[in-house]
């Protein structure tokens, strides 16, 4: 079991002792730091954290400064999961050999990585870690783009988004492929706990993170991270965009336990149209032209179908 932080309200949560300090150079309005604080603030346990190369890493560990008041490691773009898996193996070895005494509380092992590192270049490493069953939590900061390098597409970039390597133009509506269903893929590994979270729904998120910390084995968290720079909304709109994402069901919040048991954890009282979510983000602005308006209908249909699918899965318990 993890040593969970007791969280009464947002104020006490947001002013809790921090192991992720405020001194970083992430963009104003970046959701990464909100997500990281919500994860780290959910536990009092000792932490070994890894980060993949990406926005979070380059903005929080610039020598001679660091934003991390916990053990932290970055190796490369693709291997943050395996970095933490190696540390987890070392913890086991030293305990088995008696070099760490049995009554020392178990630390938690957490990886933060962007969607580029998760959906694309680091996928093999994550799959390996989950197959081997390391006791770790992998948190994908999913901003649907290679933001650190200036906004190139990833396999998480959704249809119709304009990215620098899938730009919208006179003959193109931007990204042509829909995003990979990473949550389903990770659940299919048989992971004991997989969940999709959004930082604006902080109670839902913290409950899932705490459940994850209480779970033995590999835990995968896909965290929506609205990106002011590449989604091109204003920095003060991060929570507004995030609310639209979950209330339009573009980012449904749910969990999958032991690969099969799916629970929807947030049902919007008022479901908003997908076009409202897209309209606030200039990366989709070309879709609001007669030429590409049909894509908005396709978008809505796809989101509706996924919502029906999730509810059926939840009901069927398979």
């Amino acid at each position: 079991m993890s040593n969970q932080k007791v969280i009464k309200n947002l104020k006490s949560f947001s002013t809790a002792a921090e192991r992720f300090e405020g001194s970083h150079v992430l963009c104003p309005g970046c959701a990464h730091s909100i997500i990281v604080r919500e994860v780290l603030n959910a536990t009092n346990d000792n932490l070994i954290v890894s980060a993949s190369t990406g926005c979070l890493e380059v903005c929080t560990a610039i020598y001679p400064n660091t934003s991390w008041d916990c053990s932290w490691i970055h190796i490369g773009f693709e291997n943050a999961s395996t970095a933490v898996a190696g540390a987890e193996a070392m913890n086991k070895a030293l305990r088995n050999k008696g070099r760490i005494s049995a009554d020392t509380p178990q630390p938690k092992f957490v990886t933060f990585a962007g969607d580029g590192a998760t959906y694309d270049i680091g996928f093999q490493w994550i799959s390996g870690c989950f197959e081997r069953g390391h006791d770790m939590m992998y948190v994908c900061l999913d901003n649907e783009v290679y933001a650190n390098t200036g906004g190139q597409r990833s396999s998480s970039t959704p249809i119709g988004a304009s990215a620098t390597t899938s730009p919208a133009g006179s003959t193109s509506y931007g990204e042509k492929k829909n995003k990979k269903d990473i949550v389903a893929i990770m659940a299919a590994h048989g992971a004991p706990y997989v969940a999709q979270v959004a930082p604006n729904k902080w109670k839902d998120m913290v409950a899932k993170i705490q459940r994850g910390f209480d779970t033995k084995g590999p835990v995968f968290i896909n965290a929506m991270s609205a990106c002011t720079t590449e989604w091109k909304f204003q920095p003060h709109q991060t929570i507004e965009v995030s609310d639209l994402a979950v209330d339009s069901l573009v980012f449904p919040l749910y969990e999958i336990v032991d690969g099969t048991e799916l629970n929807i954890t947030y049902r919007p009282k008022n479901i908003v149209p997908v076009r409202d979510y897209l309209a606030i983000q200039p990366r989709f602005k070309h879709l609001f032209t007669p030429q590409y308006e049909y894509l908005l209908d396709e978008w809505q249909k796809r989101v509706d179908e996924k919502w029906v699918y999730l509810q059926k899965r939840e009901e069927a318990r398979v």
């Binding site: 053990s71 932290w72 490691i73 933490v84 898996a85 193996a89 070392m90 088995n96 093999q124 490493w125």
Partner: protein, 408 residues
């Protein structure tokens, strides 16, 4: 400690892979993360068998690729314990990114590298392409010429890597198949003596020490990157001292003497070859036979490939008239690495022997004693001429028309 002691005979019959496996077991490694690849696979298989039978109480993690193997090693090492892995060839090529990260992050990992050719064409046999690929990676690179030496050097690698003044990863090289799969007599140390020699792991900035959180693997740009790399290079150059001390200490417990630069038959030698790996032992026989004919030839072989013992190589070659630098790797459009190193070592010294570069043995092509004798005889011609009889670089032991390049 939860592991069984293994009773060893005074003389065991081990190939180079078993020598590695036994050294890893005796060094009491905490985490081995590895992925199998020919010809280093048995190093890992033997280790797995010992683990399965209770002789190892560390963690053994079979990952999904060599890149992941080295990534896991870096994470485990930064966490604060003894770490090792093994690989060859394509596996080394796949983990090369992480080799640079491991040395830059000062993680004292030991890598047993069983040398093999690099594709294409695909080839599983021994040459030094993978060894050369690690040249600029910032790892200490030691070379074993036999299974006995593989055992000794892998054991010593931990002591060198983890020394407080070094804290750099170390590669223990041996030739694929010629060493890794050739069973020979090996005199092991007892578990107790070996373990005592390697000593307890010294934690530095361990991630598992929660009283003092440390950030590993930071970002630096033009403002600090150079200082970090400079310090790393200085540590690598400073490791000569620790390597020598380790060789000396090892001699005391084993009776086996290692030097920065090994040599054979160099007393009064007129000509010499410079080589690496198992070729050294074959060349010893060629030297003996030629010496019986009164032909004065010798061999020089760097035991330590990185950091390169430039001064010792220069000293070893001061009194010869002609030298063949034998590179067992396709040179990729220039002279071979050993030729470059030896030329660099000699240039600022009084001795300026005739220097030739022989590319040989690629993809496991044999180098016979007769061929080595011919090489020595040609060197004598060069020495007598006072200049090269052919071009600077020649590919030897290859079919087809003669391939030689660079006029003197």
């Amino acid at each position: 400690m939860n592991k069984k002691i293994m009773e060893l005979n005074e003389i065991e019959v081990w190939d180079g892979n078993m020598a590695n496996s036994q050294a890893l077991r005796q060094a009491d490694v905490d985490v081995v993360a590895a992925y199998p690849i020919t010809p280093s696979t048995p190093t890992v298989e033997n280790y797995a068998t010992m683990h399965a039978n209770g002789y190892i109480d560390g963690e053994f993690v079979m990952v999904e690729s060599e890149h992941a193997a080295m990534s896991g090693c870096v994470g485990a090492s930064a966490a604060g314990g003894r770490v090792a892995t093994a690989t060859s060839s394509q596996g080394l090529a796949l983990m090369i990114e992480v080799l640079y990260q491991a040395s830059g992050m000062r993680t004292p990992i030991v890598l047993c590298l069983v040398n093999r050719a690099l594709a294409a064409p695909l080839n599983v046999n021994g040459d030094h392409s993978d060894l050369y690929l690690t040249r600029d990676s910032g790892w200490i690179s030691l070379d074993a010429f036999s299974p006995q030496e593989a055992y000794d050097i892998t054991l010593m690698s931990f002591k060198i890597a983890e020394h407080k003044d070094v804290r750099l990863p170390v590669i223990s090289n041996q030739d694929g198949f010629m060493t890794s799969h050739t069973a020979q007599n090996v005199k092991p140390l007892s578990d107790e003596v070996a373990n005592k020699f390697v000593g307890e792991y010294l934690q530095v900035n361990a991630m598992l020490d929660f009283s003092r959180p440390v950030t590993h693997g930071v970002q630096t740009e033009h403002d600090w990157h150079f200082e970090h790399k400079a310090k790393q290079h200085a540590a690598l150059m400073g490791s000569f001292k620790v390597i020598q001390e380790t060789f000396d200490e090892f001699e005391k417990i084993s009776g086996r003497k290692y030097k920065m630069v090994e040599s054979y038959g160099m007393d009064g030698a007129e000509v010499a070859i410079v080589c690496l790996g198992s070729t050294y032992e074959s060349a010893m026989l060629a030297v003996d036979q030629l010496r019986e004919e009164g032909i004065k030839v010798g061999i020089v072989a760097p035991r330590v490939f990185r950091p390169f013992p430039l001064e010792e190589v220069a000293v070893a070659l001061q009194n010869v008239k002609a030298v063949a630098c034998m590179d067992r790797s396709a040179p990729g459009g220039t002279v071979g690495a050993l030729y470059n190193e030896v030329a660099g070592a000699l240039f600022n010294t009084p001795a300026r022997p005739v220097l030739t570069n022989l590319i040989y043995g690629l993809g496991g092509r044999d180098m016979t004693i007769n061929e080595l004798k011919n090489i020595f005889r040609n060197l004598i011609k060069d020495a007598n001429n006072g200049k090269l009889t052919g071009k600077i670089q020649t590919l030897i032991g290859v079919r087809g028309p003669e391939l030689s390049f660079y006029e003197q």
